[in-house]
Amino acid sequence: MIRSLVRAAQRVPLIGPVFRTPPSVRRAVRLATDPALSQTYYPDEPRKGRWRVVGENAWWALRHGQENKFYFAYGLDRKAARLSDVLPWRHFKRLRNSGNETPGVPGNYNYVCLLRDKFVFGQIAQSLGYPAPRTLAFLDADGVEWIDPRGRAPLPSLADVEIDGFCKPFAGIEGAGAFAFRSGGGALWIDGSEATEEDLRDRLHGRSLIQERLEQHPDLSRLHPSSINTLRLVTALEGAEARPLSAVLRMGTGGRVRDNWEARGLAVAVDLATGRLRGDGMYKYGLWGGTATHHPDTGVLLDGYPLPMIDEAVRVACRFHEDLRYIHTIGWDIAFTPGGPCLVEGNDNWGLPLVAALDPGFKDRFLALYEWPGGLSRRPSRPAASLAQASKTGLDLPPR
């Protein structure tokens, strides 16, 4: 009877939407009630009741306009946790972008293309002397353009050149469109399988680049040898000086070549003071969500595992960030080679969930970067140590 009345009311023009449940709330309730999606990441701690979990998810969706997919990964289903312990995505995104996409110089432009365009990023890193994967060539459906020495050749000619590298689109994110590429002796391999020229064309969407494959440090290979396991280090500018904000190690699983969280990778917090992994590994929310004390393939104990050259990695990332002074916060992807750290990518649009799920103190450190003239409930005016202040120091070139 009540359900019929509600359905009838939903069809009435103008007042109908009031009686319709917003899609985000429906998704939030499904997230909270689906046994596969609502696995806890903290089985040893007391949990909130089922109705409270459903209510909190629905409230979050109503208040913020979208469901909190990382509710369980953030550990908000624990009795001791409060919704205010984590930043809502929209709130975080607005803050992050206010520092990164606000023009730092006169004129309507900003500097994020230096990070988003992987080719530009690699070339600038190389010219400033920072370690980054070498770009070998541009690739599109028509042909290949070699960088050193410069020259253009048809796509089939690739098969005759010995290459062991990684192919990725100029502006891809989260590993989308990237694949391992090998060629030589008249054959091509994509992600380890032999491929034809047509297969390669199908995998190319627009312009891509081929970068040399990195040789991984043995300590990282021990965790999962088939993927390049990278450190996600978030750095922030305070004045003209960059400082680390949070660090997480991502590693592949199941023999996959990518280490991304989206590709069923495992992420573990990194203690920058000791250079060791801290706590359990965590999968992204979803059907394979949950935690792991040991790597599922190699059996390596994660908690306390030492990472090589972590200080050097932080130093290189901070120095590069100081050169990119108009971008307030950057999420770096750093690989470790036997010779030292290598900056694979820098991201102005770095994601919150990875660091927020693994680093409990992140929210406070992040909010402290901004000024709050109207209190925390109001919009911040700008990054606390603003770029204007940085330039007032005169020699706004940090000592090397």
Partner: protein
């Protein structure tokens, strides 16, 4: 007349809503009439076979009514001549400029623009791609410099007293139209700024933000013959379409009166460059507000070199260089390149996403059709050009 010296009635009127805007309009119309009836300006750009005075007045009054201020480039565009740039053509150029800017925004929020506008990052990209461009020697701030290769910070005292001789050109990293740029030479513990002896404090006093010090480009004798004091550069516009970049229009900018920069806004001259033959065509044009006022010249006023037919070296190589660089950049859809010519070949000084249409409009308004066709923006303009 200062605000306090104005009659009481005028000051009282200023409080009436809309009175200030109306006042600005009236002043704009007055200036337009002065411009239209100024015999000096009309003579400066030729004035033979031109429109009668009443038409010039009507043109400028209409312009001021529409835009609120007079058109300082009225004579430079040849709008005073019966066969010169018509109003319809100017409005088309305006639409084209708006469309170019819209495309830059559409292509990604001025994203690629940062690489072009920031001279430091531009030089880094050029160097790593192997495109010839001036080598960057140092980054400069108000209190000191960061010498590159190897990197070491120095105060201005340290820079002047260091043993390595430097001969370069300093310019603001995000600057435009040559503003703030100066020549800097350091040798044997002595510095020269724009050719004048200077102390460390004088050098630092010229730097009011982030500056770039680039090595001086040695100019090809054929370009030096036009005006040796300035680095005379070609402004070449390329258009990227379907992954291929093609040059569309070009002009040469030449310094004058011993100036170190060749910018039009800084008193330099502009001359048309035929990209097919590599030779200059037409006359040299000086911008009206520049020192000495607007004027056209058959020969360079300082060196006497005749412009029309003067052949520039390495033009095909310069076109090829701009083509390759634009293709490597992958955007924006049109770029205005500043190219210098050394004794060994062309050299890219910078690329401009928001390149100045008025240079080419003043030289030859006919460039619009090839540009619109090559860039494929005719569909967006709502009309097809013949």
């Amino acid at each position: 007349m200062s605000r306090r010296d104005r009659p009481f009635a005028l000051r009282a009127l200023a409080g009436v809503p809309g009175a200030r805007a109306a006042g600005r309009r009236v002043r704009g119309l007055q200036a337009a009439v002065r411009l239209a009836t100024d015999p000096e300006q009309a003579r400066a750009y030729g004035g033979e076979g031109g429109k009668p005075t009443w038409r010039r007045v009507a043109d400028n009054v209409l312009w001021a009514a529409r835009y609120g201020n007079p058109n300082p480039l009225y004579y430079a565009y040849g709008m005073d001549e019966k066969t010169g740039t018509s109003y319809a053509r100017y409005h088309l150029a305006e639409k084209v400029a708006r469309e170019v800017n819209r495309q830059i925004e559409e292509d990604g929020a001025g994203h690629a623009t940062a690489v072009l506008r920031d001279k430091y990052f531009f030089s880094l990209i050029a160097q790593t791609l192997g495109h010839p461009s001036p080598r960057t020697l140092a980054l400069m701030g108000p209190l000191g410099v960061d010498l590159l290769n190897p990197r070491r910070p120095l105060s201005y005292e340290g820079l002047v007293s260091q043993s390595l001789p430097l001969d370069g050109f300093a310019k603001p990293i995000g600057g435009a139209q040559g503003a703030g740029a100066f020549a800097l030479r350091i040798e044997g513990g002595q510095a020269w700024v724009d050719g004048e002896p200077a102390g460390p404090a004088d050098v630092g006093g010229r730097v009011d933000g982030r500056y770039l010090l680039q090595e001086r480009v040695e100019q090809h004798p054929a370009l030096a013959a036009l005006h040796p004091a300035s680095l005379n550069t070609v402004r070449l516009v390329t258009v990227l379409r379907d992954g291929h970049a093609e040059p569309v229009v070009a002009c040469l900018r030449v310094g004058a009166r011993g100036a170190l920069v060749d910018n039009w806004a800084a008193g330099g001259l502009i001359v048309g460059l035929d990209i097919e033959t590599g030779a200059l065509f037409g006359k040299g044009i000086r911008k009206p507000p520049a020192v000495g006022g607007g004027a056209v010249f058959d020969r360079h006023p300082d060196t006497g070199v005749q412009f029309d037919g003067y052949a520039l070296p390495y033009v095909p190589a310069a076109l090829d260089l701009a083509r390759r660089f634009h293709r490597d950049m992958g955007g924006p859809r049109s770029i205005g390149w500043d190219l210098a010519f050394t004794p060994t070949g062309p050299c890219i000084i910078e690329g401009n996403s928001h390149w100045n249409l008025s240079l080419h409009l003043a030289i030859d308004p006919g460039f619009l059709e090839p540009f619109v066709r090559a860039s494929g923006i005719d569909a967006h303009l709502g009309r097809t050009l013949g």
